[in-house]
Amino acid sequence: MSTPPIAEQPTRGERFDPVALAVITSRIQGIVRRMSNTLFRTARSSVLNTARDFSCCVVTRDHELLAAAESLPIHVMSGPDLVSASLARLHPKLRAGDAYLHNSPYHGNSHAGDHCILVPIVGADGEHHFTAVVKAHMADIGNSQPTTLWASARDVYHEGAVIFPGVKVQQDYEDIPDIIEMCRTRIRVPEVWYADYIGMVGAARIGERELHGLGEELGWETLHEYTAAWFDYSEEMMAGAIRRMPAGRSVAHNKHDPLPAAGAEDGVPVKVIVTVDPGGARVAVDLRENPDCLPCGINLTEATSRTAAMIGVFNSLPIAVPQNAGSFRRLDIEIRENCVAGIPVHPASCSTATTGIADRVANATQRAIAELADGFGMAETGTLTASVADISGKDPRHGDAPFVNLMILGLTCGAGHSRGDGWLVSGEVGDGGLMMRDSTEVDELLYPIIVWADRIVADSGGPGRFRGAPACYVEYGPAGAEIEAMWSTDGYVHAALGARGGYPGAPARQFLRRADGNVEPLPGWGEQTLAPGETVLATSAAGAGYGPPWERELQRVVRDVADGWVSPEQAEQVYGVVVRDGELDAKASERRRAELAGTSVPVPELLDVEQRSREIADRLAPYVLAAEPAR
């Protein structure tokens, strides 16, 4: 407009100019998106440059989350705030040109596998105004084993993570060489780590440059006034959303799969108490009644405990609300010290703090809300499996150069919810559907592997009025060299649970196919050396359903059958929809539905995913085994 540029816009008394509010928000979101784009396009590890397992955000000088466009929820809702506060405690004077490396689970980070780069944004006035935070899941962090997600690590010493509680890694825009050398001597394939580090610094510096420009153009005080107004607005949106929710207290339980650790042999029970108070426009989530920290790698951090509960709530909001410190004011997340879903006490290991128990907490929270009233909340999302694995070894195509990477294949597990079917491409509840999949061709180009299948498994999605996303079957193995694969999964024993009469999703299944054709079961967590000719067969844990399946819209079932996602048998038995030769038999369906509404079907019968996976494996056997000897 011909208005004076936004810099000169007056604020109307106490109220921030509404046009400037919208304009500055758009500018800051744009800056965060450009930070993300830089890291995405420059990173070396496929976990970053393809799967997008990273986040970029801006935190205020008071350590509050301001903007995190298109970032993985489990990374950002809480975490950047805590690391920013911890940084200020350890480094009282932040200067322009500084950059800090942070991955400490005991100082506010999500887990050690996520490296954060924090760049303080310092004005010409010498004051610290904001902090740009870039957090990325690294391919390796120098653990004792080549994995960044290690559920069976006994403690942080066994895990072996190098912990950086906010260590200055750049001064005057130059690397501090001793810190870089420290990383290079410990982290596997240091060239790749360093290149990813450079990408992260580049992203943070782009954020710094642009925010600095905005602050100097508008005046830093205007930006701080904007921040306060934006938080107030976001809080009002959140309050409006909560006022539309049903009142009540709801308790949900679920269970993490058993682990080889004292106290976790029979699985780890999770309990979440949600209280929705539409009158006061507040939601409380209490996680304090969960077990103490365990001697394994699944303990949550303070950041992921809070965030997991927040994800469950945000997934259940009836309208879209901005995610920042303003809207978070309406949430009361109650956690305690020394708790598996709380604040960890050193040296408890938090290696898998962004998945595992975090998924269980978020899932229980949204399911608890679903049980308050129909039309709200969500069923449970499935979980990561061995199609998402750390692979490492030496690549004979590049003179036996070592490689290590988190491979992200498969990735279908969204939960049925009050408004629709499970979001198909999702790795876990904490990714909000933002995670991307590897390209088979790119993985085969970068690493000595061959992928034989990556496909959806029929009858695996939890049946419901709104169906959970079906599982996928992935089969892969080495090409021409031995590789090491490690995975820490959940959902093998305890499937994703349905909500309001919806059925659970199929549990995960893993097998090893030997070169001689024998297929043997693999455990839900573990490590495996694969020789050429051997393959891992991984079926993911599917999403669960919402509402009774016999209430599902008829045409949705007919289409699922046509696409091969639901068999005619499951359609008839569970959904009460009779499809013959692709045509709906309306009368027979009506009869079957009336029958089902009276007596529900037992679960194991309808989710025999083990059988389904084996069928696919058998069908693929001649295909895989007849392959030319690998390179």
């Binding site: 011909s2 046009v19 304009v23 440059n49 290149a195 629709g420 990556d454 693929l620 690998a630």
Partner: protein, 696 residues
Amino acid sequence: MSASNARITCDIGGTFTDVVVSDERGRMTIAKALTQPANLFDGLRAALERAAAELAEPLGGLLGRTSLFIFSTTQATNAILEGTTARTAFLCTEGFPDILVRREGGSLRPYDYSRPFPEPYVPRRLTFEIAERIDADGNVARALDEAGAVAQLARARELGAEAVSVCLLWATANPAHELALGALIERELPGLPYSLSHQINPIVREYRRASGTAIDASLKPLMQRHLPEIAAGLIDEGFTGELLAASSAGGVVPMGELIDSPLWSVRSGPSLAPVAARTVATVETGSGDVIVCDTGGTSFDVSLVREGDLVFTSETWLGEPFAGHLTGLSSVDVRSIGAGGGSIAWVDPGGLLRVGPESARADPGPACYGLGGTRPTVTDAALVLGYIDPDRFLGGKMALDVGAAETALAGLAEALGIGSREAAHAVLAIANERMIAAIHELTVNEGVDPRDSTLVAGGGAAGLTIAAIARELGCREVLIPRAAGVLSAFGGQHSDIVREMTAPHVTNSKGFDFAGVRETLAGLRERMHAFEAELPQGLGGEVRRRYFVEARYAYQVWDLSIPLEGDGVEDEAALQRLIESFHDAHERIFAVREPGQKIELSQWKGRVSVETVKPPLAAERGELADGAGGTHGRVAFFPELGEVEIAVHLGGELAAGRSIAGPALLIEPETTIVVYPGWSAHVSELGNYRLELEDA
């Protein structure tokens, strides 16, 4: 005069068919008619007849003296967005039937589950798995099961497939199995159009290659019907010249090329807008970077000219990123956002003013159309501010209801607790902000600074707010071409024949394969020569061949396209210069460089452009009389001035060289230009408008 040689370009859009006729002296005639979707030629003929009438000659006479006819259409794009393409089967490697269903994952909106997971381009029920496997090195890991494939094709026929797309893993490394399937399709399903991925777009990454191939095959039946119909229609009316068609590579190709590979026609019209902008900017402001904005009723397209070159991308989505469909082609980077005169303004539950994404479209349209719309739109806001003359909208063809716009805005103003004029101003400011964000995304991506660039605006809504957008971007100069209302058709007038070829060959900076690269480039050169040889005689002028390589640091996966100097990388010194230009480009775009790091080079491209004879840019405006006396007043609102009386000029009455100080309105038949306070407008010798921000 009418004996001279003419050049005609047309752009068949969803609503209007635009025609531009130019002669050897550069005189330009512009005509429009409604598009007739059932028979595109009917709409085209109507527009051509209008142009002929304006030139006072029969249509046959005009077409008879037309040596070159350049055709572009949005039919392909529209058919995809509306889902009216052919029923297409998808053949893939066994084990991977969900490539199109899952895409590459990703979403722009976490927690937004109000919309369903997007539908695949080809549903699973029309997807057929073929037992075969090529590995990353191009070896046959599993032989093709021909008998199985024949059975799958029979099934596709039973299901009524009208076209077949084939994308097998690693067909780019070894196309043997795709070629064998092509032969089987010809044998088993004779006459059915099909597309093979390694021929359509030989890139690594199975989803993008599959998506482009599926789109290509699905367009074949439609384009193989429409394009020959148009050609036949023109010939029937007396046309004997050469017929070329626009492609998304920012140029034109013989129409037969698009019939063979219709994927290139997707978003081809918008790709000509930067060609038009470059032409005008070169003569009006000299070289430099150009930001191109094309504003229609429902969408805002932005593109870029950097150092005289069009900017390309491999990320062209039809629809929203991640939720739409990717063409996968390297084509002119035109970002499109749903924003325009019809975007609806509303106040959200937190009290914040929002504009769009919902649009009032043409029916009921903005409140001021008086067709039943009651919600305030961007057009209503501009009317309330006095930026649109209600009696001269669309050349006076549609009278606007100011009262209805006032009423619609009053509700919004009340909800915001501010005056109607202020609310209207806020609506435009927020609508602008979305366009500014789109421009920032594109310029920052390319390392272009808007403050050093010229803004070129086209489209019906261009003049309303472009100066305001320029000011927010820090741009001091805006060009609005005489042909702003038909930017793409005008771009066609100034297009060369452009064709791009790609060939994969992987090497790196530390062990550079000089011989292999020489051979690869020689292969590209041969293909370019073959293309040139097939062009109609007498069409082409100077031939320019340029080479590029897609390069990245070791282990990166996203490439930067780096131009080669000359036609190869002949020696160590040339290699060093190439490496240096990669480091420079990386630093320009991503703020960091890694000296000494290994660079991988994977895909080699040759772009051949054959210059066509272009009409001169005529100094037609100088002939007009100065209509200084023709101005009249009008009241408009600007926040820094309040309500003021401003001058209104009819564009056609202004002589070349005239300057108008803002605030003022310039009314053209296709658009209205708001000259904001602090700005001035100049009419150039060529009849284009230049807006400049005066020094404060």
